[in-house]
């Protein structure tokens, strides 16, 4: 008997079962070990799945042996194979290296529950990405959200504001999920099916129905809430600021990316080009808020004193870029979104890990505490520098490639103001990154905050540098961007479901 055909199911099952088992072990070290093993195994499985998709095309897995739309199917194509590998890869880097920061930030008797929640969250995100069923998507979103609320609240042992941030996140997240549920209900009522592919076929004949249009609108609004698109972004800024370091690193690099992936899936695969962009003004709606998110998020980031908060607001702006690309409705724009998705996951994960190192040594991450750390923590400082350059999008980083695509896509669509917004956003990024680097490299320590005792443990800077290496590789090698991503983007924008 071979397990090869079962890989799509195992990708979700391994972290899920590991999460449940870890919840029972009651031993901090063992919990960490199991979690690390599970996340690395999951990453290997997603790579195997991606290779299979590359070789065979779309992989379909009928859960329970019931062919869709009677049963639930997993459907993995080039796009979600990429996102699956991204999510699992980030988990495989962040979970095994999280031990030191978790030991510092989470009470020792709760490590088992902490790692269980992390793995269940990862399982939820992987499930969301792999599923081909709209209602299954809702259930899985709720798993990843519910775990995320609890994980954010765990930041309370460092700062009590984690609790209010978590509560706000819960309220916004639940409203978003409810809107999604309502929207799916309208689409289900109009089509009679919950399977995404089947729904796409049936929606093609129903473009005139107000029920369908309302459903589309509520799905988009619900997803915007879940992605933290401007103007409903405040929860994310707070949650990323106060959550435990490793949770922020994981969520900043995966959760919003999964949200963007679902939006692409709905807008392109399920609704299709005509319903999304011709009948409904999805593009105008998303473009407007994406541009606002870029400008407002970057301006907010410039004003921040706490570096974690600065990075969180920078994430608000980055979501703007991601949404902007997908709202352009062209292969070029989508390529931009996909490259940016990968690049931003790597860069932001690395940056939050590096800032986590500063928190580990200095007890906080305000501009004061970062002053002059380059002298005693050169590797951490290097990670912050390279990551910052990646955020700006200087050449040789992935950020450059993605912004290039976005500008080209905007100009191709004749939307030169959008291209201007992308450039302005980059200039604003220069402002906040340079301010940060100036403090890190040229600040005088000792006057405002004590100098750190030394470099943080390797488990902070090593994964950060590894992720940044990935980002640079993305910027330098044309192969990945030209091949896999362009293929995925072309297939989606070509209107093929």
């Amino acid at each position: 008997m071979t397990l090869t055909p079962q890989v799509p199911a195992l990708v979700v099952l391994v972290p899920l079962l590991a999460g449940v088992v870890i919840g029972l072990v009651r031993h901090a070290g063992l919990a960490w070990l199991l979690a690390s093993l599970a996340s690395v195994t999951t990453f290997a499985l997603t790579l195997a799945l991606a290779a299979r998709v590359q070789a065979e095309g779309v992989v379909i897995y009928a859960m329970g042996g019931w062919a869709a739309p009677t049963g639930i199917e997993l459907r993995v194509d080039a796009l979600n194979a990429l996102v699956l590998a991204l999510v699992a890869g980030m988990a495989a880097v962040i979970v095994p290296t999280s031990r030191a920061s978790v030991a510092r930030e989470v009470p020792a008797d709760r490590h088992d529950q902490f790692y269980a929640l992390v793995l269940l969250c990862v399982a939820g995100m992987l499930g969301v990405t792999a599923t081909g069923d709209a209602f299954n998507l809702y259930v899985l979103i709720e798993i990843s959200s519910l775990t995320a609320y609890a994980l954010v609240a765990l930041g309370r042992s460092r700062d009590r504001r984690a609790l209010t941030a978590s509560f706000q996140y819960l309220i916004m997240g639940s409203i978003g999920a409810s809107f999604l549920l309502v929207g799916l209900g309208y689409l289900f009522l109009a089509t009679g099916t919950l399977n995404m592919a089947d729904m796409a076929v049936r929606l093609a004949d129903l473009h005139g129905s107000t029920t369908v249009r309302t459903g589309v609108a509520f799905v988009i609004v619900g997803l915007s809430l879940k992605m933290a698109l401007f103007p409903v972004h405040q929860w994310m800024a707070d949650a990323y600021t106060y959550a435990p370091t490793s949770v922020t690193a994981l969520m900043a690099s995966t959760a919003t990316k999964v949200g963007v992936y679902i939006t692409i899936r709905f807008v392109y695969t399920i609704f299709g080009h005509e319903l999304s962009f011709v009948i409904m003004p999805t593009d105008a709606f998303l473009l407007a808020f994406a541009c606002l998110a870029i400008v407002v998020g970057s301006l907010q980031a410039i004003r921040q004193h706490d570096v974690r908060r600065l990075l969180a607001y920078s994430s608000v702006a980055q979501i703007g870029y991601l949404v902007l690309g997908l709202a352009l409705g062209s292969a070029l724009g989508l390529s931009g979104t996909l490259v940016h998705l990968l690049n931003h996951a790597l860069v932001k994960g690395a940056l939050f890990l590096a800032v986590g190192a500063v928190v580990y040594r200095q007890g906080g991450a305000t501009m004061h505490e970062l002053t002059g750390i380059a002298r005693r923590m050169p590797l951490t400082a290097a990670a912050i520098a390279v990551g910052g350059l990646g955020l700006i999008g200087v050449p040789l980083t992935g950020g450059f490639v993605s912004k290039w695509y976005l500008v080209a896509g905007a100009l191709e669509a004749g939307l030169w103001p959008v291209a201007v917004v992308v450039l302005v956003g980059s200039l604003l990024a220069v402002a906040y990154v340079l301010r940060l680097l100036q403090v890190v490299y040229f600040g005088e320590p000792g006057t405002v905050a004590p100098e750190p005792a030394g470099e943080a443990p390797a488990s902070f800077w090593a994964p950060a540098l590894l992720l940044l290496l990935g980002s640079v590789a993305l910027g330098v090698s044309g192969q990945l961007t030209g091949g896999l991503i362009a293929a995925a983007a072309g297939a989606l924008a070509g209107g093929a479901p």
Binding site: F135, Y149, A150, L163, F167, S178, L181, V182, L189, L194
Partner: protein, 180 residues
């Protein structure tokens, strides 16, 4: 006016669900008390349940649990006037040869009774799928509520209040104290 009239007859459940969602959403946004917000969220979510279940309703249908022909016939016979021995014969026939044979064994009925019996024998089922979806949604909503209330309790322990405006004030004071 005609829109309102048709709506009242055909879509009333949907409009009730819309108003429940509005009430819940209002409470979530407007109330400052965190428990009240959680309650509002609960109202908001239960509104959606009405929408889904109403969608699954089929006029004159019965609950989606498969009835055997004999069970259908037994229920049908209890609702019409029929001599006991003929009913017994029909019940015996249904076990052997199915509903048509039973109907024949029953012999002629009063027209009203016959129509009623036929209707009961051919009763459709409501749609089970929305029921399943809502079972899931109910469980999700109570799980969310449990986590939300746990967070609220911790907020009370950390701040001494569960009023959002008082929490904001408390934070502002902390920030001011830190600055001076």
């Amino acid at each position: 006016m005609s829109l309102l009239a048709t709506g009242l007859f055909n879509l009333l459940n949907y409009w009730v669900y819309v108003s429940l969602m509005m009430i819940g959403l209002y409470a979530v946004i407007a109330k400052t008390n965190l428990v009240k917000k959680v309650i509002g969220l609960s109202l908001f979510q239960t509104g959606i349940f009405i929408f889904y279940i109403s969608m699954g309703v089929v006029s004159g249908a019965t609950t989606p649990i498969t009835w055997t022909d004999a069970e259908r016939l037994r229920l049908g016979l209890s609702r019409v006037e029929v001599a006991p021995e003929r009913a017994a014969a029909a019940l015996a026939a249904v076990e052997e040869d199915g509903l048509d044979a039973a109907r024949a064994a029953l012999g002629p009925l009063a027209p009203a009774d016959a129509a009623r019996l036929d209707e009961l024998l051919a009763r459709p089922y409501t749609n089970p799928l929305p029921h399943v979806l809502i079972l899931t949604a109910i469980v999700v909503s109570v799980s969310t509520m449990a986590v939300a209330l746990a967070i609220v309790m911790e907020i009370k322990a950390a701040y001494g209040t569960i009023e959002s405006d008082e929490i904001v004030t408390a934070e502002l004071e902390t920030a001011r104290a830190a600055r001076s």
